[in-house]
Symmetry: C2
Subunit: 221 residues, 2 copies
């Protein structure tokens, strides 16, 4: 029985890692839909989010069941509680990728992102995908050092978002109001995906060390 | 010992209710800062968010401690797990109110919201405050019927957000690009506060009945 329990606990962590892979693919594909103006890819991201939500519900249920039946102690309880919190972050990241795909679909056959910001969004997406990948590896390998990389990447994400705002203030925005609104919301979605990746990194450090990383190095999410 | 445990469990729910009161005040004050262009109120909301985050950490810690020491069963475990999830929602709602206050501060002494949208944001804020209040009462009184009201209010919030978008598409937006960007993000923040209130309502129904409310009546959050 004890062995079954251990393998069920590991199964939950594995499911979180698989979920992070799905989120990474969703971010990649949502960006393809957005920047390459691809409607069928947009539809695929939106329908895949239903699957991510199903995994979310499954993991949440499994973690709760183990708590209810196994009387987990210290490190195991910490893992289970953190899993319930991390599965919420991953579910939310999937929703945000779907939001990006929905804007791509809404503007089709036009591209929501104007020419001058395509590069900016490609970079945002690349950093977001990196961060989801790091979060997944941190989880899979219980590697607190790897988690530190999230801090640097998050700084780059913030810089890209600031670049967007700099273009939109003042009077020299060469595109439409509608495009500005899309850029503002899309930028927000990518930034939030990055925030959730940081939160997963922090929670994994908490699982490993029993302490949440604090201080100005670690951004609040 | 058992009696102490029961009172500690009740204390956690009480803290969540107090936190929902703080969030409701933060939303009210952030809107005052935004629409009445009041810098000192904006500063107050931003610094109060630190206090909300402290309550968040305290409740999360207390719920975890009870799980670790008391071996909670069925309904109690459900309450503790849901408390950890709901405290995250409330913490996030406080952050969103602080985001509104930060935009008010950034644009001071100008008003971020242009004349034609002041009424719209007053209505958004009023609905958001109502919804936080309902979520708090649902929690305090374990009243699943009261939670149903959140669905209707959330529909009204969505309608107000659609009204904003209708004004910003096409070519007749009479204000600046910067104002459009502010409206888009501010609208998003109020809408997210409403979403979190709905999530709290759903989780409270789960505590009471053991089932999450599903179906198209209940918006996904």
């Amino acid at each position: 029985m004890r062995e079954l329990y251990r393998s069920e606990l590991q199964e939950i962590v594995n499911d979180l890692v698989v979920m992070s892979d799905s989120v990474q693919i969703a971010v990649r594909d949502a960006t393809t839909a957005l920047l390459d103006v691809n409607l069928s890819v947009a539809e695929r991201v939106i329908s895949s989010d239903v699957r991510i939500d199903q995994v979310h519900d499954h993991v949440e249920y499994q973690a709760f069941s183990l708590m209810a039946t196994q009387g987990p102690v210290a490190g195991e309880l910490r893992t289970l509680v953190a899993s319930i919190q991390m599965v919420a972050e991953l579910g939310r990241m999937g929703d945000l990728a779907a939001h990006v795909a929905k804007i791509a679909r809404l503007r089709y056959p036009n591209r929501a992102v104007p020419d001058g910001l395509v590069e900016n969004f490609r970079n945002m997406s690349s950093i977001a995908q990196d961060m989801v990948g790091i979060a997944g590896r941190v989880l899979a390998e219980r590697d607190a050092d790897e988690a530190e990389k999230l801090v640097t990447e998050d700084d780059q994400m913030d810089k890209l978002r600031s670049d967007q705002f700099r273009m939109m203030v003042g009077n020299d925005w060469p595109y439409s109001v509608e495009e500005a609104v899309d850029v503002a919301l899309l930028g927000r979605y990518y930034e939030r995906i990055a925030d959730h990746a940081v939160a997963i990194g922090k929670r994994t450090i908490y699982i490993i060390t029993g302490e949440m990383p604090e201080g100005e190095d670690w951004p609040t999410t």
